[in-house]
Structures are given as structure tokens and as C-alpha cells.
Amino acid sequence: MPEIDVRLVDVTKRFGPDVVAVDHINLEVRDGEFFSLLGPSGCGKTTTLRMIGGFEEPTSGLIELQGQDVTWLPPYRRNVNTVFQNYALFPHLSIYENVAFGLRRRKVPDQEVRRRVSEMLELVELPGYEKRRPSQLSGGQAQRVALARALINRPAVLLLDEPLGALDLKLRKQMQIELKRIQQEVGITFIYVTHDQEEAMTMSDRIAVMNRGHYEQLGTPEELYERPTTRFVAGFLGVSNMLRGERLGEDGGYAVVQVVGGARVRVPRERLNGRAAVEVGVRPEKIRLLSAGAPAAEQLNRLDGRILDASYMGVSTQYIVRVADEANLTVYEQNVERTEEGSLHRPGEMVSLAWTPEHTFVIHEGTGGDAGNAG
């Protein structure tokens, strides 16, 4: 059982009588993990982070840090540090004094300050920048200094509030790898707030996908992507094809669901969890396109349809397939078999879509599910 670093118990934050920024969140972040709060703007992820940091007080609930109740402690009495969205480096201090700020507050002797500051600047790959001013740094450098300034205090938990938001794409990719490396090197728990699903997936051990003040699903990037349990998560992380259906019966380890056009798809039985009316989904890259009538393995799920649109995208081709005049499904096909120009499917062509039942996920909400606190 890994140790719990941060625990939120039933935490709610209201701004005024009408705005509920965070709505009864329960959360446990394990020691040493890279944990992300992912969601669109206004979903409450930053407010949640600010409550952990001590910048906002929860309206109700409890916040524990390494077993200690810190709900009402000011930021300077908590063993957490924050990397702010726009870095918030002190413009009147040198880089050295910026990084040393936390140690100075704890009256660490000069000699040790000097050693640890240069150690930290080494870690973030900015040695020799001690004498500069924040205004003389690029965005990426300021980001690293902000990180060094927080990490030098050896906090139990490091909070990062969209720290890469202001950087351009290339630098962001580079910093993602860098952040992950630093996190592994120092072994500190990171809680990372972002609206960028790719960023969260690349770096995180676990992600809580937030929407309207609570998280809809919590899990590893793979769990969230392969088996989203809410419509929101399915749509927020990547592209999904959703199909409404009804449970007909069972077939071995599978439940059989009748979807559009009377077609039947099979779903691992435990995912259906006894529901009758369901919504099932499948990711576009899991689907294989076959010419109509072509033989396919018996155990595959299979739908017939007509190609509406085909877009060549380099790595892959995106097809929009109309199934039973009711639903449009998106299919990504890797361009590995393409041997000459236009040698694959064209708009208007009848095709079959096939995928393995294990790639079918089931939405748990709207049909009597337990959306919201599925963690």
C-alpha cells in the first residue's frame, strides 16, 4: 500500500452563493507519483490546486498533507511549493536570490544556500545564471528558475499550475520530458494542472479528468484512454465513436448489445455491469476497414456502412463512415498498406468496420451509472 501524500476529503469551494468551483471532491495522491488534474478551463482544477497550496480556503471539507490536517494553514506553514502559471519570479531579485528565497526564510546558513542554489541551477540546466535578472530570461529559462525556486525547499509535494502554458509547442514538448526527468530524479510528488490532454498523458502516472467542479474519472493514462467511463472523458481524451444500444443477452464472457441498424456488438461482460440500455464506444484507430462482404474473424464486432469522406493525413487516412443512415463513425487507418495513389477506399464505397470486442468501452452515465465519483 503506497503512502498517501495528499488527501482531499469532500472538499467544496464556492465563490458567492451561485458559483461552485469545486464540488465535493475526494482525492488521494500517492507518494512520489506524477498526478495530473486535467480538464477544460473553469472545471475547478486550478481552484483545487490553490486549495492544496493554501491560497484558497475550502468552503467545506478537509485537506490532509502526509497525514496532517492543513485545511486552515497558510501557505507558509505547508510543506508544499508551487510553480505558478506565469512563473511569478521576483523581478527585483537576481536569479540567485529568487532561488534562494525559500532557504533564506528558513535562515539556512549562507554557505549551504550557495551550495544548494548552484545544485538546483545545475539540475534545471541553468548554471551560471545566478547574477541575471528575471527580465533577462526567456520563457523556458524563467520556467526552469521557477521550478528550481520551488524544488530547492524539498517540499513533500510540488504543485504545478499549467507551467508550460506560455511556451511554444516545441519548447513545451522539450520541457515535458525535462519535467518528467526532474520528477524522477528528485522523487517528489508532483500535482500537475493542465488542460492539454496530450501533456497529461505523456507525463502522468495517474490523471483525474475534471469537469464542472468534480472529476469524472481517475486512472492511468491508458485506463482513461482505453476504457473511458463517461461521455466527457471519451470526448476530452482523443476521438471516440459512440453508439447507443440495448443489451440483448450474453455470449460466453461477452454481453451482446444491439446498436444502430440492428447490428450486434459484443462487449466484455463485466464492463456492462448489468445495465440494459447502454452507450458503447470505440476509438477510431481500433477499427479495421474491410471491403463489403470480405470475410473477417468470427469474434470481431462488425458494422456495415458507406464511406462519406476520406482525408489523407500523411501518417494515416481518416474515413467518415455512415452506418445504417443513423450514425457517422470515424476511422483512422495507418497508411501502411497503401501501395499506389488512391489504391484504398473511396467515398461512396460500401465497407465493413471490424474491431475486437475488448476495444469496446461502455459509458456509465445517463443510464443509471455512477458518474462523478467513479474513482
Binding site: 497550496g53 493554501g54 491560497f55 497558510p74 501557505p75 507558509y76 508544499v80 511549493n81 508551487t82 505558478f84 502559471q85 506565469n86 511569478a88 519570479l89 521576483f90 523581478p91 527585483h92 528565497f101 525559500g102 526564510r105 528558513r106 527580465s135 525556486r149 520551488a150 525547499n153
Partner: protein, 293 residues
């Protein structure tokens, strides 16, 4: 700006007289205007400095007689003058200190917090600046005189606000200075990033340390500018002071009083000194601000 940046155009063949004049105006018009405007502004100061080197002949210093360093050798050598300057400096110093402290706190709270009456306060802060000084002086006088009448005389002991004197001048100066300090510091606070304070507290500094290590250094240029402004407004004030000074003389009051029968060269000397000090202070604060950027 283009007028200065544009070079004489050598490529043009045989410019007409009209064009040449136009080019000259183009090139020199703005600089000439600037020199004229600055000269207009500085002329009185130049005259003041020049006449501080005048030889004292008779009672008034209106006509140039001869170059002399007599007044500079004995700058405070007039009866009552040294005391008046001393009072002026004391009042300027104390009122600046009080107004800067109070005004800074007001400015911080006005920009930082939302509270009932905030916009009303913003308006009231502005009023003393918009009110004609003579109105303010007259009403202050009325107010101070009334502290000696019933029922206020039972609350405020005699001698604190009435008879008029050092205390009343000081109170009046603090009052009008606060507005200027608030407005100046508020301008500096407007762009202040609150996350800097959050970052400071995040790094282990409590509210007190955060104010002195982060907030204060960052708004210090604004506070300094406000203090300089307050000092110069106080040392220079005549109208309000005249109403509230009673028998106490500040330097401007003393000058006004002596003007009735004499205008000694020393007035120009002291004026020049005040001017010189002000210039040095402004230069200093500009350098300081530039370094902080």
C-alpha cells in the same frame, strides 16, 4: 519625430527656395519649439538664481546692480528667516512621513481589497485635489477655530488645535498630501502581480516578511515619488498655510510677510537651494527607478 529623423535630401535636384525653407522648418521646427518651451519654463528659475548673486542695494531685489556673493555667504542672515525655514523643513518632513505612510496603506487597500465604500473612498480621496486651496484653507480655519468653541472645547484641550500654530499647519499639510500620495502609489500598485505575494508565502514568508521582502521593494519607486511630491507640496504651500498658521511662520509665509517692506537677496539664495535640492532628489529617484527596472 519624423521631422528630426528625416535627413536633408541630397538626391533632389535644384530645390526651389520654397522647398528649401520647408526642409529647414521640417528639420529644425520641432527642436526650436522644444528649446523655446523649455526656456519659457526655466526662465523664472534662471532669474531667481541670477538675482541670488545680486548686490543688495536698498530694500528690494528687483534691479540688477552688481555681482556679489554677500547673500550666499550669509544665506540665513535675516531676522526670523532661519526659524521660518526650520519650521518649513520640520513640517515638510513630518507631513511627508505621515502622509506617505497613511496614503500608502490607503492605496494598498484600495487596490487590493473589495469592500463596501471602496468607490466612495476613491472619490473622496480625489476631492482635496480638486478643491480650490483657498476653500480648503478657509474651511480648515473655521474647523480649527470651532474646536475652541462649545461643545468641541470640552473634548479637545486648548492649545492643541487652537490657537493656530505648528500643529494645525502640520495637520493641514498631512491632509492635502494624503490624496497625492494615494494617487501616486495607486498608479504603481495597479500593475502589481498578486501572484508574487502568493509565491513569497508559498516559499515560507509570512505576511509581514512578504510585505517587506516583496511588496514594498516593488512599490518603493512609487512610494518614493509620492514622498518627494508630498515634500515639495508642503515646503511650497502658501494658501492653506496662511489660513492655518496663526503666529507661526513657515518660509513662504515669512517671504510674504517680509515682502511688505523688503525683498532681501537671501530669499533668492534659499529658493535656489531648495530648487537645487529638488533637482538632486529627482535625479536620484530617476536613477533608482531606472536601476530597478
Amino acid at each position: 519625430m519624423t521631422a528630426i529623423a528625416r535627413p536633408f535630401a541630397p538626391a533632389r535636384p535644384r530645390p526651389t527656395v520654397r522647398r528649401r525653407v520647408a526642409a529647414l522648418v521640417d528639420h529644425w521646427g520641432l527642436p526650436a519649439y522644444t528649446v523655446a518651451a523649455v526656456a519659457y519654463l526655466l526662465m523664472p528659475i534662471a532669474v531667481m538664481i541670477l538675482f541670488s548673486f545680486n548686490e543688495q542695494v536698498g530694500k528690494f531685489n528687483y534691479q540688477w546692480h552688481a555681482f556679489s556673493l554677500d547673500a550666499w555667504a550669509n544665506p540665513f542672515g535675516r531676522p526670523g528667516m532661519a526659524a521660518a525655514i526650520r519650521t518649513s523643513l520640520e513640517i515638510a518632513f513630518l507631513s511627508t512621513l505621515a502622509a506617505t505612510a497613511l496614503g500608502t496603506l490607503i492605496a494598498v487597500s484600495l487596490t487590493r481589497y473589495r469592500f463596501p465604500g471602496r468607490s466612495a473612498t476613491n472619490l473622496f480621496i480625489f476631492l482635496p485635489m480638486a478643491t480650490p486651496e483657498i476653500v480648503m484653507g478657509a474651511s480648515l480655519l473655521t474647523l480649527f477655530v470651532n474646536t475652541a468653541q462649545p461643545p468641541l472645547d470640552t473634548v479637545i484641550p486648548k492649545g492643541v488645535l487652537f490657537p493656530l500654530g505648528f500643529n494645525t499647519i502640520l495637520i493641514a499639510h498631512i491632509m492635502f498630501n494624503i490624496s497625492y500620495v494615494v494617487v501616486t502609489v495607486k498608479a504603481r500598485m495597479a500593475g502589481f502581480d498578486r501572484r508574487l505575494e502568493e509565491a513569497s508565502m508559498d516559499l515560507g514568508a509570512n505576511e509581514w516578511t512578504t510585505f517587506w521582502k516583496v511588496t514594498f521593494p516593488l512599490i518603493f519607486p512609487g512610494i518614493l515619488a509620492a514622498a518627494l511630491l508630498a515634500f515639495s507640496l508642503s515646503i511650497d504651500d502658501f494658501v492653506v498655510t496662511n489660513f492655518t498658521s496663526g503666529l507661526t511662520n513657515t518660509f513662504p509665509i515669512w517671504v510674504w510677510g517680509s515682502l511688505r517692506n523688503s525683498l532681501p537677496v537671501q530669499i533668492n539664495v534659499v529658493g535656489t537651494m531648495i530648487f537645487g535640492t529638488a533637482v538632486l532628489l529627482v535625479l536620484g529617484s530617476t536613477l533608482l527607478q531606472r536601476r530597478a527596472q
